[in-house]
């Protein structure tokens, strides 16, 4: 359908923009596309099925399938059923509207009860079948490829949690931050190098060892946050590939856009939308072991008695609390496992 098919003079102010040159090779008659005598306007209009709600139902079904892929299998199944049912009804509608064409075109009338196949002439059937089979083949190739390209990311694949052993807790002096730099996964190499700020808080009132374990990525857009204070390079230690450097950090600052955090990781100034992320940790055989990351809304209190608002690990810049969290209703795949 091109602009050349506008009914001549039928649209006020409409342009016939076909320059009339492209057809020079085939057509010497100068007939325009829209004026081609073989194309009968009346015929065209009768081929169009009437307005129908089935496509809308079909679209809703497809939408449910897509949402279901992310949220849950039952939603996916319901969506698939809805899409199939409405898709069937839609296709049936398209076929049922065919007899009207035959009648309007002056072909021999057929009884409405007659078998559907009788009303579809051979050429129409063959072209529909060709289109249908080609579509099936195309879908059979495209859908798996697209699914492979996109879905792994939505299933939380590639999001592995590595427990990292930072060595004996005696390396962490009480009340002082230590910058721990380590490879999350030695197989992945340098690309998995991470930095954590660890502070030994002594013991809680219940006698449980307490550590503040802050992840170095800024809660604004993920730049590497730096401790604001002198680093004691003399006291640097290397414990099984983990580099430990004590630092006198009263606050943390981000060099990229000026985010500023206090010693507990709470945002004090700048663009960050929440506090610095933290690690879950455990102590195994006297060693401090970092587990998976989680996000923090705010921290009330200090050190061992701090109350930490804990959420699933979210991307930097994503709100975890307040009204803005409704903009991010689905937890990031892989963060909840």
């Amino acid at each position: 359908m091109g602009a050349g098919q506008l009914p001549a003079g039928g649209v006020r102010g409409g342009f016939l923009v076909d320059t009339g040159r492209a057809r020079a090779v085939e057509s010497r008659t100068g007939a325009r596309d829209g004026e081609n005598p073989r194309v009968n306007d009346e015929h065209d209009t009768h081929d169009l099925p009437g307005p129908s709600l089935w496509p809308i139902g079909f679209a809703i079904g497809v939408a449910c399938v897509l949402i279901g892929l992310v949220i849950s299998i039952p939603v996916l199944i319901v969506g698939a059923v809805v899409a199939l049912v409405f898709g069937f009804l839609w296709v049936r509608d398209l076929f049922v509207s065919r007899p009207v064409t035959a009648a309007a075109a002056g072909l021999p009338d057929v009884a409405p009860e007659a078998d559907l196949g009788d009303n579809v002439d051979r050429a129409t059937f063959l072209s529909l079948a060709t289109i249908g089979v080609s579509g099936l083949i195309g879908a059979g190739v495209t859908l798996p490829a697209l699914g492979f390209g996109v879905l792994p990311s939505f299933m939380g694949e590639g999001v592995d949690t590595f427990d990292v052993d930072l060595g004996p807790i005696s390396n962490f002096p009480e009340g002082q931050y230590v910058i721990a730099t380590y490879l999350e996964s030695p197989e992945q190499g340098e690309v998995s190098r991470r930095t954590a700020f660890i502070r030994n808080n002594g013991r809680t009132d219940d006698g449980v060892p307490s550590f503040t374990t802050i992840f170095s990525r800024c809660a604004h857009l993920g730049c590497p946050v730096q401790p604001n204070g002198p680093i004691d390079e003399e006291a640097k230690k290397d414990v099984n590939g983990v580099e430990l450097r004590p630092v006198l950090a009263a606050s943390f600052g981000c060099p990229c856009h000026g985010g500023l955090y206090d010693s507990e990781g709470n945002r004090m100034a700048g663009p960050p939308v929440r506090s610095l992320d933290r690690y879950e940790f455990s102590i195994k055989d006297g060693n401090l072991v970092l587990g998976r990351l989680f996000s923090v809304g705010t921290v009330q209190g200090v050190g061992a008695s701090a109350k930490i608002m804990k959420y699933y690990k979210a991307y930097p810049g994503v709100h975890v609390d307040g009204i803005e969290r409704w903009l991010y209703p689905i937890p990031t795949p892989g963060s909840t496992s």
């Binding site: 342009f15 016939l16 923009v17 040159r21 020079a24 792994p152 590639g158 991307y315 810049g317 991010y328």
Partner: protein, 260 residues
């Protein structure tokens, strides 16, 4: 004299024979002539060449990119050293990489200038709205090329700029975190991120841009070049009083008789 003329003739024949041979079997020569020697309004200027300039910049990117791809190694442990090898060891590698790197900015700048020309000349108006939309998609794809290409040197600038870029994507409402997860194949940039960006940069996005440029050019040829807004001659087709006053946007179409 006579021998000179006939030699000239035979030379011309020697040049024309392969062209005629091709033309007779494909019609491509005639079609190329028709494509290159279309009629345009008489009062166009250098401003209307910005689109062709953008296309040239894209072709430069595609050509240099193909050869860079032969030496670049898209995995975290080899990427940086392969870039160093291209720049410092291989003959003319510094030049081709420089063309690709600086040409990227030229491509984006030319697209913006072209867009400004189209906007200020009103050339996006009826019936060319669709071509504006296609152009906007080319611009977005071009900027995505810039984003994915920026990671490939795999130095600290590339790494942290991409961290920030991906996390900006992640702040998009509802779909942002999934988009970020798709881009980097995990919660943070990992071993899968670089090959993914590379594939997007050299296969997916260039393919999309080529297809879009094809459609864009098709519409340019079909709809013709716009007269400038200050044009004294109405380039639009003659039409009756009932057709309204939308003139000056369409070039004079070829008359019906001269179809060759």
């Amino acid at each position: 004299m006579a021998t000179k003329t006939s030699r000239k003739h035979s030379l011309a024949d020697a040049a024309l024979i392969p062209l005629d041979w091709t033309e007779e079997r494909s019609g491509l020569v005639g079609y190329t002539k028709w494509f290159l020697f279309r009629k345009v309004p008489h009062d166009i200027s250098w401003a209307q060449t910005l689109g062709a300039a953008s296309l040239t910049a894209f072709i430069v990117q595609a050509t240099t990119g193909v050869f860079l791809a032969m030496y670049y190694k898209p995995d975290p442990s080899n990427a940086y050293s392969s870039i160093q090898n291209i720049t410092e060891e291989l003959t003319l590698g510094w030049l081709v990489r420089g063309m690709h790197k600086w040409g990227a900015s030229v491509f984006i700048i030319l697209m913006f200038l072209h867009m400004a020309r189209v906007f200020l000349f009103g050339a996006y108006k009826y019936p060319r709205e669709l071509n504006w939309i296609l152009g906007a998609l080319i611009l977005v794809s071009g900027m995505a090329e810039g984003f994915t290409g920026y990671l490939l040197p795999w130095d600290n600038t590339a790494y942290w700029a991409t961290v920030v870029g991906i996390n900006i994507n992640a702040t998009g409402p509802f779909v942002g975190p999934f988009l970020a997860q798709f881009l980097q194949g995990g919660l943070m940039i990992g071993p899968d991120t670089l090959p993914k960006f590379y594939a997007l940069h050299m296969l997916v996005l260039p393919g999309a841009i080529m297809a879009l440029i094809g459609l864009h050019l098709y519409l340019v040829v079909r709809l013709g070049v716009t007269s400038p807004p200050w044009s004294k001659t109405a380039a639009g087709r003659e039409r009756g009083p009932e057709a309204g006053a939308r003139e000056g946007l369409i070039r004079e179409p070829a008359t019906e008789g001269d179809s060759a």
